[in-house]
């Protein structure tokens, strides 16, 4: 049995350093753009697609760990309003596995964007729960199945893209029968009516 990793974050650092400088820069840019208040959230599905088309294979967990690590690093950097040099020192202190190339990418991007991340943090409300970023829908008809030859049942599927307080975007989908959907619709109308009177 191989020995367990001495520190979980060393694994993340390894994975980050395996990325090409360009790919790392892209991922960081995506995250920094969100932290600067220019996008609604960090879409890990998008980052994953980019990585895959560049030929990088990372499992879901590993990718989430990388994104979380970068978000945390940039967020705390913004809070303390540190410089690019200070960011690099801090990273080197926490792990000796950093490659020069990766640190250079992080230094450059932070020097360019760090100040704006810092000012944005004062403006952005942190106390929130998930918010809907996008909603897609599909109306389908279940025709037949192995347990029932004639289902003849229409249904509505919704795909919700939700940005969580961490900034990460996740997807949730679910199915409703037509009566369920109509009740769902009715509830939303009620909410709108209440909001108007408040």
């Amino acid at each position: 049995m191989p020995a367990a990793e001495s520190c979980a974050s060393n694994n993340v650092v390894d994975n980050i350093c395996r990325l090409s400088p360009d790919l790392l820069a892209e991922a960081c840019q995506h995250i920094l753009t969100y932290l600067q208040g220019q996008t609604r959230g960090v879409d890990s599905a998008e980052i994953c697609d980019r990585f895959q088309s560049a030929g990088v294979r990372l499992d879901h967990e590993a990718l989430q760990d990388i994104i979380r690590f970068l978000l945390l690093t940039f967020r705390s950097g913004g809070k303390s309003n540190i410089s690019g040099d200070e960011l690099v020192s801090k990273l080197e202190e926490s792990s000796n596995k950093w490659s020069k190339a990766s640190l250079q990418v992080l230094h450059k991007l932070w020097s360019e964007h760090g100040a704006l991340v810092h000012t944005q943090q004062d403006v952005q409300a942190v106390l929130s729960i998930g918010q809907l970023v996008d909603m897609q829908w599909k109306l389908g008809m279940a025709v037949s199945s192995d347990s029932c030859r004639s289902l003849n049942s229409p249904y509505v599927t919704l795909l919700l893209k939700i940005v969580e307080p961490s900034g990460q975007i996740c997807q949730r989908s679910f199915e409703m029968t037509i009566p369920q959907f109509q009740n769902f619709h009715k509830q939303f109308k009620e909410i709108a009516a209440v909001m108007e009177t408040v």
């Binding site: 004062d122 403006v123 409300a125 106390l127 929130s128 729960i129 998930g130 918010q131 809907l132 909603m135 829908w137 109306l139 008809m141 279940a142 199945s145 347990s147 029932c148 030859r149 004639s150 289902l151 003849n152 049942s153 229409p154 249904y155 509505v156 599927t157 919700l160 939700i162 949730r172 989908s173 679910f174 199915e175 409703m176 029968t177 037509i178 369920q180 959907f181 109509q182 769902f184 619709h185 509830q187 939303f188 109308k189 909410i191 709108a192 209440v194 909001m195 108007e196 408040v198």
Partner: protein, 190 residues
Amino acid sequence: MADVDAVKSLSGLLNGIAQKVYYNNSDITEELLKTELYPELPQEEFKALHEKMKGLLKSIATADMDHAQLEAFLTAQTKKQGGGGVSAEQAAALSRFWKSQHIRVRESLLAQSRWEPSLRGLSWRVDLQTATSRGDAAHSGPVALMELELGRVGQDSEFVCLEFDEAKINQVLKKMTEIQESIDRIVHRT
């Protein structure tokens, strides 16, 4: 007297099979049904009866038979020679059972073929945000908080919490109107 009992036992058997196969009642077992309904019947005979009724019920449910189809099917079954057919009594029991239970059985089959999570529950409330620790007034106004309960058949629920401002609610309402229009167009035709 014996006839009434036989009829009751048959109905009980069909209900028991439905409970196990379609209504997810794990308390009902073959042994229980035998003990409760046919204590005197030899084991192999009960097993054969149970399998036959189960098979017939499955055929009827899978084909989602309407009244005419059911009558035709049962008539054909009563005419069968040898041990494979059904008695007039059994046919009558099946007919009665299907008349009263077919909607419920169909619901169960629909649920079984649904593999995406379904919406199990929805709760909401509307808050009025009056102040924040950051002192900004940018987010003042009504905020709707919603909790969606989602779950797949046989699995625990997951809860998704969302907040909406008025603009977002209206955006969602707009999409829902589109969905309703699609439904009206398509479902009307069936």
